[in-house]
């Protein structure tokens, strides 16, 4: 048995004792970075709540239950601040955006991970990333100059075809002549959130172990059955996360929506009618907010949007946790 005795002495990576010091420095820096996010969040919440307080006190519970928003004095009666129409508008636009964007995004992601030839893949990814880099005001202008007027004809056709059917008729009601409304805004936002949902679902699909996929094929699955049986259950949490990120963008999207939604304060089932969202009301009126406490009321809308986002994110986290247990068993 020979022993290697002439092994050269090991070179330490850093000088003795330096490693511990840099570790401590690293953890301090990351802790500070993490705490900074939390501190910013708390500071924003405190400031906006303080700024919003005069309006919240003035409007009371009516701020979330009343659908009318009249930021001026009419016949001696003071201003009325009720955000319900805007909450409704935000919800409708976000739902329309998700209905269009989610299937398309998941389709693109599946195409890229499962079907596309390698050369085509990088081209498609670049094009989708380009879509994400277009400023939202450009989408908004495109919406009012090109998309809106073009869609009015489609809206009129749908209204003509479906207008007399009870439920569909109220959804597809009389369109506004310029096309500025919930549907146009929702479709523009859908295009804006497709890159986000696509890129995240693509990453998630790429993490599905090859062994799972091969196992599905070995059991005689077709490609679609493999996707349904192996890719989707494995990726559910990530897909919900991607949709939630898209939803967050859709709810907060401001300028593109402000341009295309038509600025009407109303709650109507008609998807072709004009409406308004929380974010677009803030953007449109912040320069000239009307009689006091108009500015405060606009900030209160921001607080409300923040609260809604937090609730939705929390709900999404719960959905993901439950679904993971159900789809992958308790081991996940």
């Amino acid at each position: 048995m020979t022993q290697i005795t002439d092994r050269p002495p090991a070179q330490p990576l850093t000088a003795r004792g330096r490693g511990a010091a840099s570790d401590r420095a690293f953890s301090a820096v990351s802790l500070a970075a993490g705490a900074l996010v939390l501190a910013i969040l708390v500071l924003i919440l405190v400031t906006t709540l303080r700024e919003a307080w005069p309006a919240l006190k003035y409007a009371g519970l009516g701020f979330v239950t009343s659908p009318s928003w009249v930021p001026l004095e009419v016949d001696g009666a003071g201003p009325v601040y009720g955000a319900l129409s805007f909450v409704y508008g935000t919800t409708v636009v976000s739902i329309i955006a998700l209905i269009f964007a989610v299937p398309i995004s998941i389709g693109i992601a599946l195409f890229l991970t499962e079907l596309a030839p390698t050369r085509l893949r990088s081209t498609v990814v670049t094009v989708i990333d380009l879509l994400a880099s277009i400023p939202s005001v450009v989408f908004g202008l495109w919406g009012i100059i090109v998309v809106g007027p073009a869609l009015v004809k489609v809206y009129n056709g749908l209204h003509g075809a479906l207008g007399d059917i009870p439920v569909l008729g109220s959804l597809f009601g009389e369109p506004v002549s310029s096309g500025r409304g919930f549907m146009t805004a929702g479709m523009i936002v859908a295009i804006m959130i497709i890159p986000i949902i696509t890129s995240i679902t693509r990453e998630v699909f790429a993490t599905v172990p090859d062994a799972d996929k091969q196992a599905a094929y070995a059991l005689g699955a077709t490609q679609w059955e493999m996707i349904r049986g192996a890719v989707f259950p494995h990726s559910f949490g990530g897909m919900v996360g991607a949709v939630m990120l898209g939803l967050g963008r859709a709810m907060g999207e401001t300028i593109a929506v402000a341009l295309t939604i038509g600025a009407a304060t109303q709650i109507t089932p008609n998807l072709f009618a004009a409406g308004n969202t929380l974010a677009s009301v803030i953007a449109l009126n912040f320069g000239d907010p009307g009689v006091p406490p108009g500015r405060s009321a606009l900030i209160a809308l921001g607080v409300l949007l923040f609260a809604i986002t937090v609730v939705i994110n929390y709900a999404a986290a719960v959905v993901v946790r439950r679904a993971d247990v159900r789809m992958k068993g308790a081991s996940a």
Binding site: S68, V74, G238, V240, G248, G262, G287, P289, G290, G302
Partner: protein
């Protein structure tokens, strides 16, 4: 496990995005810094000797004129750097009140809670401009409207172009049986404020009161800024909306003649606007109301605009510069108004405005 980590990270970034949006919304009003870096000036009567920096913000309605005037002023006073930020009257008054700007532009008068305290500002009228009632109706070239008809159209009491009220105003026109499309400003605006103020004053039928934003009926359409409204009008046959003269002209729109207090139908023009200014009563603080003014040639929907200055400037350089600029604006600067569709002040009001500037005290 992997997916859970990812989705949690994703959720955290959603919160991040929302916070960023809120932060922007929350800070939008006071993001401007105070003007700094004044170089000591030897300001004399000669404008070219003026130097320094002035910051101003406010009304977007006269912005086209102010930018034109600032360009021209820079030619005669190249060392005095003045910026005017078109933020809207509300923000302008608030920033001026908190000392962020040296003067402010405003279409409306200062009310309690707007920012500047009583006695901390003076009104200086600068120019005025008509707000047109622009329409798009094929086959009808010279529409005439009375105030009550305009009010009823904009609050949707009248929904068809061949309504009896419109027929009464236009006995000779061939009005089609077409739906009226009403376009209004989607953003809060001094134009909306002046337009609704006119209707409140002149039309007993008007019910929506007046403000930077009013509660428009749900079946009307909103466009962003004057150009957005103009675009809706251009796009749809049967549309009507209110747009300032400069943008309406630039967009190639046709305007209705509006019945004035003397019962004459007058088309929007700069001459009609100056006539309205001459017919308006000017108060002691130089605030005046040219809406629905008397005089046969007066165009009734004429909007005034003011610059707010401090009665006393503690910074001598700034005070001198503000006074010098405003004096130029009210004298030599007036000639540039018409090229951007604004009307000059009539001579009587101009004299009063110049006297107002002389009241400004400069300390130090």
């Amino acid at each position: 496990m992997n997916r859970n980590v990812l989705s949690r990270r994703v959720l955290a970034s959603i919160a991040g995005v929302t916070i960023a949006a809120l932060a922007l919304a929350g800070c939008g009003g006071n993001g401007d810094e105070t003007g700094a870096g004044n170089t000591p000036a030897s300001a004399g009567s000669d404008l070219s000797k003026l130097s320094g920096e002035l910051k101003a913000s406010g009304a977007s309605f006269p912005n086209a004129y102010y930018q034109k005037a600032l360009d021209e002023f820079a030619k005669v006073a190249p060392n005095l750097n003045i910026t005017y930020n078109s933020t809207g009257s509300g923000t302008g008054k608030k920033e001026f009140g908190s000392g962020l700007t040296d003067f402010a532009g405003s279409d409306s008068l200062v009310k309690a809670g707007d920012g500047p305290a009583d006695g901390s500002f003076l009104y200086v009228p600068t120019v005025a401009a008509p707000i047109t009632v622009a329409y798009h109706l094929s086959g009808v070239a010279d529409l005439q409207l009375s105030a009550d008809t305009v009010a009823k159209i904009f609050q949707r009491d009248i929904k068809k172009w061949n309504d009896q009220a419109i027929k009464t105003d236009n006995p000779n026109a061939n009005l089609p049986d077409k739906n009226i499309v009403v376009a209004h400003r989607s953003d809060g605006s001094g134009t909306t404020n002046n337009f609704t103020k006119y209707l409140t004053k002149a039309a007993p039928a008007w019910k929506l009161s007046t403000g930077d934003t009013v509660a428009w009926p749900a079946d009307t359409q909103g466009g962003d800024k004057n150009t957005g409204v103009a675009q809706i009008i251009k796009q749809s046959d049967g549309a009507i909306g209110y747009v300032d003269l400069a943008d309406a002209t630039a967009s190639g729109l046709v305007f209705a003649a509006i019945k004035n207090k003397d019962g004459k139908y007058v088309k929007p023009s700069l001459a009609g606007t100056t006539a309205a200014l001459a017919g308006a009563t000017v108060k002691d603080d130089l605030s005046y109301d040219p809406l629905d003014a008397t005089g046969a040639a007066s165009y009734p929907i004429t909007a005034p605009t003011y610059i707010l200055v401090k009665p006393t400037y503690t910074d001598a350089t700034k005070g001198k510069n503000v006074k010098a600029f405003l004096k130029w604006l009210l004298t030599d600067g007036q000639q540039f108004a018409e090229s951007v569709s604004f009307a000059k002040l009539p001579a009587a009001l101009q004299t009063k405005a110049l006297a107002q500037i002389d009241k400004v005290q400069v300390q130090g």
